[in-house]
């Protein structure tokens, strides 16, 4: 590499908009553009903010895909769990300059395999949320505008069906549920739905998350019966309305790592595509079923919380069973679904009636409501808490219990 002729390419991950802009300014003014900010996949060095929600997971994901890319980790803490150059916050110019030099040195060293240090466990979501952005992809929200794609690429053959390889990926959705373990279900044990402080703790705003944007794009596609392009700091995602699939980059898994971040709407665009636009996956892209994707994204974003304005005492009704053989089964999901199908029940009552942690009810609810599989039943008075007629115990409960046991053991 010739350092004199070409700027070092830096990816800034998990950054707040302000930090991002500051870096940009710093590279331009102090470093005379010898560093430039680029996307993750074309970077030489990455700078990662470790104080963001799910930053550890994002880093893991990053290391997996770019194992040889030196990283600079900025953090408030003294923790040095990873093999990387560290900078303590608040960031001082000197510290940053010297970190950049160190990282550059690493870059010039021959690639050595670094054993992965032990990963610290991530606790329940800190309330801190971060904004990531990339000024290059700033596009206004284009809802309702039909944009003709100028980059239509002619390809030689079209597959007979618009359902691309749906089956091949479904297994992944089923097994990648490691995240469920991180929910500390004790947190909501004494949850009081009348206490605004507690409510705030267990609610989140999906609007500015990838989940929220994806949801908006997905339902726009279904409603308009047109494909939709979702752009942001991530690689473009195309939603194929007919097959209810999405076209994404092959290593789509890192998208889940974005679930804890907030993205300003000025950095995200949703474009309705003309139906003639060729949406076949390119060489580095793949096609996934949209429902399990959104399900999982919502589940991860939720982390045991519910969207803001959720009514904790209104009965919830199941509108559609999730396709559980090809979707992550959140804890107790089958029982909750069965209960809500039989008898609309509030979130609070569901937890007590089924004797399951409230956060598991929240998690299922959030994933299901993102796809409109469930909805609150709006009644004159939403006070079901006391007068809940419990679903009758089946006379064969013991047999069913034994059968469940058998199905599990085999």
């Amino acid at each position: 590499m010739d350092n004199h002729t070409r700027p070092v390419k830096i990816a800034a991950l998990g950054m707040e908009q302000r930090t991002y802009s500051t870096l940009q300014l710093f590279f331009h003014e102090h470093c005379k553009d010898s560093y430039v900010l680029v996307e993750e996949n074309s970077a030489d060095i990455s700078i990662i903010d470790m104080d963001g929600f799910q930053a550890h997971r994002m880093l893991e994901e990053h290391k997996k895909h770019y194992p040889n890319q030196p990283s600079i980790l900025i953090s408030l803490s003294h923790d040095k769990a990873y093999d990387a150059v560290y900078i303590r916050k608040p960031i001082m110019l000197e510290a940053l300059s010297s970190a950049l030099l160190k990282a550059k040195e690493r870059l010039q060293q021959p690639v050595a395999k670094v054993p992965a240090p032990e990963v610290p466990t991530v606790g329940i979501a800190p309330q801190l949320q971060i904004v990531a952005s990339n000024p290059e992809t700033v596009t206004p929200l284009l809802l309702n505008n039909v944009v003709h794609n100028p980059h239509k690429i002619a390809r030689q053959e079209k597959p007979a069906s618009k359902h691309f390889n749906q089956y091949r990926y479904s297994a992944n959705f089923l097994t990648e549920d490691a995240d469920l373990e991180h929910i500390n279900t004790k947190l909501a044990e004494n949850f009081n739905p009348d206490n605004p402080i507690q409510i705030a703790k267990f609610q989140y705003q999906p609007e500015q998350t990838l989940q929220g944007y994806f949801q908006q794009a997905y339902f726009t596609a279904l409603q308009k019966q047109q494909n939709v392009l979702l752009k942001g700091v991530w690689r473009p995602i195309t939603i194929l309305h007919e097959s209810k699939q999405l076209r994404v980059e092959k290593n789509f898994r890192h998208l889940y790592a974005l679930s804890g971040m907030l993205f300003d709407k000025s950095n995200v665009s949703i474009t309705v595509l003309d139906n003639n636009v060729d949406c076949e996956p390119g060489l580095h892209e793949t096609v996934l079923p949209a429902e399990p994707f959104l399900w999982k994204l919502a589940m991860r974003t939720s982390r045991g919380r519910v969207p803001a304005n959720t009514n904790f005492t209104a009965p919830i009704k199941l509108i559609r069973w999730p396709n559980f053989t090809r979707t992550i089964i959140t804890p107790h999901a089958l029982r909750i679904a069965a209960l809500w199908a039989r008898q609309p029940t509030s979130l609070m009552d569901t937890a007590s009636y089924l004797a399951v942690p409230l956060q598991h009810v929240f998690m299922f609810y959030t994933a299901a409501v993102s796809l409109n599989f469930v909805a609150p039943v709006i009644t004159e008075e939403n006070h079901s808490t006391t007068a809940l007629p419990p679903v009758k115990r089946h006379r064969y409960r013991k047999i069913f219990q034994n059968l469940l046991e058998r199905l599990r053991n085999n």
Partner: protein, 181 residues
Amino acid sequence: MTNYKIIFTGPVGAGKTTAISSICDRPPVSTDKIASDMTRAVKKTTTVACDYGTVRLNGGDCLHLYGTPGQERFDFMWDILVSGGIGLVLLLDNTRPNPFQDMDFFLDQFQDFINQTQIAIGVTQMDRKSAPCIDDYHNHLSKQGLTIPIFDVDARKRQDVSLLIKALLFSLDPGLIENND
């Protein structure tokens, strides 16, 4: 010791025999051949014209799995078959010309039984033909005001069949406890 039974039904080739084999204790007895001999089938209750398998449960109880013969001409027997059943598993083959028509047909045939018990639907062969998708089935059902568990199922996969039965059991009694879900 008491016997309980779950009925598997669906059109020809939907995967009934395969599904039953994937979860029962021993290879199931398939009685397709003698199915043409009605008299004999109705008379000999243990070897009716259908697939048959058992799952032994704790406490000595036994769960019987019956698969109806796929051919519609046997429909008169279904009543006998379902009597005393605890629930219905309907398998539909997504590659058939009109799977919605199949679904309506079986829902209609077993209407009384379903009303008294519960049903879970598995759509098979989706790996060979992905349309219609599960959502389309739900849309079709919701027009009739029905909310039924419908899963994409490969009858050869025990895990899929098992999940279908679990959904059936929880639909029958959501108060059931599953220790590790």
